[in-house]
Symmetry: C2
Subunit: 335 residues, 2 copies
């Protein structure tokens, strides 16, 4: 490792997070479930498989346009199960609360979790509460873990991505990252910039899985850029996307330009990246566009066997550049 003390950038979801996970966690906990490094583990219980996932949420600020830490904590875990092809059923929640945290604020957050759980049709079935002294945590951290089951379909895996697959996203990118940054720093950016935080299970199960995708991933920390790099590394093929086809709303695009942030690396909390054969892509796209969380779905690129394991983008002026894993810390504590 290049560091002795853990830098903030290890929480970015980029290359340093990936190194830390491989060097410290994978080396010790190595097993067939963990090695895939996907959004959920697929576990065999006798004759049936279940999906199991966990995420801790440390987003700052706790409230932002479009959501709060509680809504993200439920949606994030629902999405991690859903993109694996599982039906999310049960969620746990572990609260780490800073002493002195206002009870009313906790109530609001818990109410958001309840609503998000109802929206996603999951049950919050077990929990834990810890309180630490003032100054020993930043207000509130929430962990959610989730269990899901597989229906007729089996678990998805990015190893199954094939040359010729089209890549679809279900709408505007980067809005979560920019909404949180704007709320955190009082940037005063005008325009309607709201987090896209949403549970994607219905969209994925009704509009994507029936068309047999090769893989579906959840583009959160590290954004689309990180997910595409992980996918390219895992399947070994080349991913080519087209800058002009990337859906980014006008206010988010202006904010990104102003702040020098590449929307490809900014976080989403309600964006699935779908790899699907050319012949099924159009049907999936049409179906997705009819769903409330998929209205702006777009084909953004495809998988090719020309150059292995890398991600390339064709820019508006026709040039090509490589999209690498995000390096340092672009936006800390985005989720």
């Amino acid at each position: 490792m290049l560091f002795e003390n853990i830098p903030l950038a290890c929480g970015s979801g980029g290359r340093l997070t990936s190194e830390l996970i491989k060097e410290i966690f994978l080396k010790n906990f190595s097993n067939e479930h963990l090695r895939d490094l996907e959004d959920s583990a697929v576990l065999n219980l006798d004759s049936r498989n279940i999906a199991f996932t966990t995420d801790s949420y440390v987003v700052n600020p706790l409230f932002f346009p479009g959501g709060n830490i509680g809504k993200i904590a439920v949606c994030g875990t629902v999405n991690d199960l859903s993109v694996k092809g599982a039906v999310p059923l049960f969620i746990s929640c572990g609260f780490i609360i800073e002493e002195g945290f206002p009870l009313e604020t906790l109530k609001k957050i818990v109410l958001s979790m309840k609503k998000a759980a109802e929206d996603a049709k999951v049950k919050i079935v077990t929990g834990d509460t810890k309180v630490v002294e003032r100054g020993k945590a930043d207000k509130l951290f929430i962990n959610t873990s989730g269990v899901g089951v597989f229906g007729k379909n089996s678990a998805l895996n990015q190893k199954n991505i094939k040359p010729g697959d089209y890549i679809i996203v279900n709408g505007d990118l980067a809005s979560h990252g920019i909404a949180v940054l704007n709320a955190r720093n009082n940037l005063g950016i005008k325009g309607d910039i709201k987090s896209d935080c949403a549970p994607l299970n219905e969209l994925i199960h009704k509009c994507v899985l029936p068309y047999n995708p090769s893989s579906v991933r959840d583009a959160t920390r590290g954004g689309l850029g990180m997910i595409l790099n992980e996918a390219a590394l895992s399947c070994g093929y080349c991913i080519e996307i087209d800058e002009d086809s990337l859906p980014v709303s006008t206010p988010v695009k202006s904010a990104c330009d102003m702040l020098g942030i590449d929307p490809i690396y900014a976080a989403n909390e309600g964006k699935a990246v779908i790899f699907i054969s050319e012949k099924s892509a159009k049907n999936a796209l049409n179906s997705m566009r009819k769903h409330k969380y998929g209205k702006k779905s777009a084909i953004i690129g495809k998988v090719s066997s020309k150059r292995g394991g890398k991600v390339w983008i064709k820019t508006s002026i026709g040039a090509e550049r490589m999209i690498t894993m995000p390096e340092g810390e672009q936006l800390p504590r985005i989720c």
Copy 2:
């Protein structure tokens, strides 16, 4: 609620934790799984049940005689599944790391988790890493969640505790609480005081479940006193324990006397409280005493129908006093 801002005592595992859970979490997330407020939720997946549990660990200091935050994080979740009667199989881990945390220390903790997982025969199958800015968390917090399955036995529930049941614990009480307090405050207490942190799945599955216990609970935060109160409230019967029969090691007893701590309320990390019929108690006790984590197992009391829903202790001098739920914060951040 009696408070507007969350006091540290809400993390004690005592009456205030219980109030917070009932007022805020149960009111919003209410469902049949959560309502029992036991160590794990029992969930039905088609024809089979699984157990699911979560715990966040914020123990201070991270290392103490007998264990560290990583060992507790694995053992605690293994034990929560085991006392429900489930075979623990899969563990998730979510790390919240303070920026600047030494990588070497993280490696040591992860190695302890690996060893504890091997000892308990569970797999760590999915994880998450977040890093927060310096000063925004106290070094390291770990969440573990766990999934277990049921063998021939069905899930245990403290509602099944019956009058006449004997109460067994598997050894010396209060050593975890005192070991952590001693390590935290450099109290310089002499004698061999080590945390009892251990995975109890083998003990429970080999030496307890074959004798059909009514219920098994895990006496962690809030100690034996909290668990007995929860059990009495849930089953509606009276629990009577005998002070002279409580196993407490001499150095722990001296430390408790010196510090004014009641060992009944001090935390354990490897103590199961077993409720079992009179005719099976002796066989279970004999079997437990042959196991490495049960050598000092003892019968400490019994369940009676005389007085409902309360816990009484007969003291050494023959007097009786009620054991209520622990009130304030005896030992913050004990696990």
